[in-house]
Amino acid sequence: MKEASGGNLLVRNVHLFDPSEGISKEGESLLVLEGRVASPGSSVPAGTPEIDGRGGLLCPGFVDLHAHFREPGFEYKETVASGSRAAAAGGFTSVCVMANTNPVNDNAAITRAILERAREVGLVRVFPIGAVTRGLEGAELSEMGALSEAGCIAFSDDGRPVSTALMLRRALEYSRLFGKPVIDHCEDMPLSNRGVMNEGTVSAELGLAGIPNASEEVSIARDLAVLELAGGHLHVAHLSTAGGVRLVREARRRHLRVTAETCPHYFSLTDEAVRCHGTHAKMNPPLRREEDRLAVIAGIRDGTIDAIATDHAPHAPHEKEQEFDRAPFGIIGLETAFSLSLELVRDGHITLSELMTLLSARPAEIFGLPHGSLRPGGLADLVLLDLEGEWEAGRPGYRSKSRNSPFTGRTMKGRVAATIVGGRVVFKESRP
């Protein structure tokens, strides 16, 4: 990201919408000067680029707390460049990228390399997440100080849980030095017992090994007890179960410093999707029962869940086109997250203001990230939304290098028309 060269831009004919600033004004224009929202009455410099908002909603850009860009090491799945293009197309202006690359992002050199690639690509802001333990092996703490200094904004062994309660205790205690969260993929691995989908009626019928809800719940319960002991900030990744939501809700009532995210697939689908989407509906945690889906929505409604993250996890076609139990876990999500989340608004579960908070202000706040704002002087990380526009997911293709999504072919209502980072247009939808 070339901060110094923040752009000038005039966005005409938009509905300015920034709930965290209490802004909702139709028929407006917004002027951006050097990457920041200009004060009212500022004059438009000659040669300022313009875009016509066509009456769309102009909002702060989305912030994804959980994505996998796979670089270095798995560039055949995704790169910082392709992941950034997917993020921009999905309205995300900031993306936090997980450490399970090869080599693992457990040292400052890798962190700097990722940031350097992101700067060269120059589309969205990329925030590396450092490993909790060296090599994600769960044995020794990574050098969190060096990682933090190099630019890591959180720590996680995502892909697997923090190995033991003691390791989590040390990580939470030590991370207090930097005021940065420890993100845990909450799963009791022995209880999951090599399961490949949710344990329930569908797994029983398909003869696939099941992952019980208790696998997530046991792990969250452990983490919360350790959090109470150790202090620090625990962030629960991809919450998927009713019991998990309940545990986080209770901990919040006791004022423990725990935050949580969920992903669009956990409130959009159930394990029934495995029947028709096969390995494209295989991710970890797995799609759960309808009761869990509704509990996740309830957690979003009552604020137990702070953020909607994507857990964007690209895999190559030859990896997903395998027997179900052999295929890797994970689906892509950056390009479909907004439209799927908007269904929560259409179905009356939350308001549009609440959705914007879940996708932007709140995730940025809990991880301490810069985020867009429409107030004068605010960072011009913005997204232009066409709430009525229909499109078909994955057609003609995804910007991501991979296409492992159960939503491909689904008709979506509401799309991202343009994405602006630091006043520069990094994505503009080409309309028919």
Partner: protein
């Protein structure tokens, strides 16, 4: 075998046999009736009929299996088909060719049908989505083993004269059993009453909607049953922590002449084989002879002849009876 009932070269582009889910009583009955006519072929001096002459069947077995593979091979040869056995070694799977590429290659070689046995649940449907030839599920992971269930039904019908209304107890490792899943589907379609008898550790979660009653004690589970079906216990279940030991399993769930005499004296005893003597079925002298295993093996050939005939060479109107939707449609 009267020629008139089996045209020598009937045109048939049939579907697959992947699962017994959605299979109606009529379809199952038609397969069992066809198997009945094929039973005689095995008793003739020349054990062949020319109905699949010129067709090639590939047995693609990723898991070792003597009886199922041999049974399909004999069945296909009695129908005059050419049979090729492909047995990729388990160890080469991870570094070698993908299943997808393997089956496309086999199809390109000119296979008219593939029988697939694979350790992954869903593998047969996976193959069927990728080839244009017929696919028969010879057992996929813990999912289904349709021809085993059909031969079990055939054996029951032979021994009891009917299936409708019978009480059938399935005893053992339901959780990991493809034989149990296919039997539950087929037996319930035929109107049998099904009891599952197993310790809670060997029952799947999420079976509340299944048309079965659950029993944890063997004596109550088989009380008054017409059929007792013992499942093979994979010996590694003890080390996997599902049961404390094989001897404890044998004492709680092993079938013996004594327990059958007391609780289900009229029952036919079935076992898909191979038997772990002294585990699922007691090793006592003479008792094994009462178990219908060898009948099941013999009937298995006829049932597989019927399936291959109806899929690959049967008259179109008969093949249509087998036309079932592929698993996983809808929603």
């Amino acid at each position: 075998m009267p020629e008139r009932s089996l045209p020598s070269s009937p045109p048939s582009i049939g579907p697959h046999l992947l699962s017994l889910s959605g299979m109606t009583k009529e379809k199952i009955t038609s397969i069992l009736d066809a198997a009945e006519t094929f039973l005689d072929v095995g008793h003739q001096t020349v054990k062949k009929v020319p109905v699949l002459r010129g067709k090639t069947l590939v047995n693609l077995f990723y898991e070792s299996s003597t009886r199922t593979r041999s049974s399909f091979e004999i069945a296909a040869k009695r129908l005059s088909a050419d049979v090729i056995n492909v047995t990729p070694s388990q160890s080469s799977v991870t570094k070698g060719e993908s299943l997808s590429d393997t089956v496309r290659t086999i199809e390109a070689l000119g296979a008219d049908g593939i029988v697939i046995r694979h350790a992954s649940s869903g593998a047969a449907a996976f193959v069927a989505e990728r080839v244009n030839c017929h696919v028969v599920n010879g057992g996929d992971g813990c999912h289904e083993h349709p021809t085993q269930a059909l031969l079990d039904l055939f054996t029951i019908r032979k021994k009891k004269g009917r299936i409708d209304g019978l009480s059938v107890a399935i005893v053992g490792d339901i959780l990991h059993s493809r034989v149990a899943r296919s039997n539950i589907l087929a037996l319930s379609a035929m109107g049998a009453r099904i009891r599952l008898v197993a310790p809670p550790t060997l029952l799947p979660r999420g079976i509340e909607g299944w048309p079965v009653t659950i029993h944890h004690r063997l004596d109550r589970g088989i009380e008054g049953c017409d059929v007792v079906m013992a499942l093979r216990l994979q010996l590694e279940r003890a080390s996997g922590g599902y049961i404390p030991s094989l001897s404890e399993y044998a004492s709680l769930y092993g079938l013996s002449a004594r327990v059958l005499e007391r609780h289900a004296p009229e029952a036919v005893v079935l076992h898909p084989g191979p038997v772990n003597r002294g585990v699922e079925i007691s090793g006592e002298e003479g008792f094994l002879n009462e178990v219908a295993i060898l009948d099941q093996v013999e009937f298995g050939v006829s049932v597989r002849m019927a399936v291959l005939y109806l899929l690959m060479g049967g008259r179109p109107e008969e093949a249509a009876l087998l036309s079932m939707p592929a698993r996983g449609e809808g929603s």
